[in-house]
Amino acid sequence: MIYHLSFIFLFMLGLYTILIKKNLIKMVIGLNIMEAASFFWVIAISNTGGDIPIYQLLDKDIIMNDPLPQALILTGIVISASTTAFLLTLIIELNKFTHCIDIDKLEGLNT
């Protein structure tokens, strides 16, 4: 239950940041908060009280957590890092042309 509550809180915090803030960098931060909330949540609810999914040589019969969500989230983290880097690059390029990263002050797209 605490996992669900904190997931919803973090996710809505990120969504609020994206909807309210005018600064593009802050919007990227909000997107990252949303992604991190989803990752934490999937990892947290896949925890069934077992051990990490790595076998020890001496101790073969241990009870593990589900390894599949962890593998999927590892994929997601890399994708999230790539998209963040590309978004920041586009913001740098926008700042070079308009000297402004405030979406209210950007006028038109005919730079």
């Binding site: 969504l15 609020y16 309210i20 990490i52 390894p67 599949l68 962890q70 890399v78 790539s82 390029e93």
Partner: protein
Amino acid sequence: MNATAERRINMKRIFIISILFFFAFLVLFYLNDLPEIVMGTIANRFVEKSVEETGSLNVVTAILYDYRAFDSLGESTVLFAAVSGIVLVLSRKMLPVSSHGLSILVKRNFGILTPFIALFSLYIITHGHLSPGGGFQGGVILGVISIIFSIVYGSAFDYERYSPQLKTTLETGGALLFIFIGIMGIVFEGVFLDNVNFLNDGTGTLISSGSILVINLGVGLKIGAGLAIIFYSMIQKTFGEGLE
């Protein structure tokens, strides 16, 4: 800003917050009905069979680089596309104007520390099938070395010692190593990216688990060089504009 516009913005903020609260309660309502999480049949099969089938003690690595290796290839392709896009957007025919780096104290300290950082990243990459870690995690640590060079010693040092050509070669080499292992799987086992059981020295040793180790190396080089390229493209622009 006059009072009317301010009140309008406040109204908008309250409106959005109330809508978000509504959605939060809706999601919470549905999450309450979530059935209890149990390990499915696929996960049980992975946990039971992965050691004898792949030779990798780390089940997550076995899934990433053996059962679902094609997904990892796609994931690397996403990072490759992001790096290509960033270099394309930020590319400029401009000699990098160097920063001067930090003080002599920091330079000497990082001169001692940097080899150990490289060693640690190699350890994380090559022990991906035995302990937590793997190609992606170790590659990120490898990418840090380029950032240390640029910030501590100045970007000209980074340009000389770890040139963009070398980074590009490493990244392409990592991707090609991954695809080469996949084609070896076709040749020896009949399926793309199947585990080729060469260099197998017994489960639990460093040289074991066949192609997982080699794929880890390729992915680590690729991620490290890719992050270094991203950082280099970004600071080349910033330093050039600051000092022009």
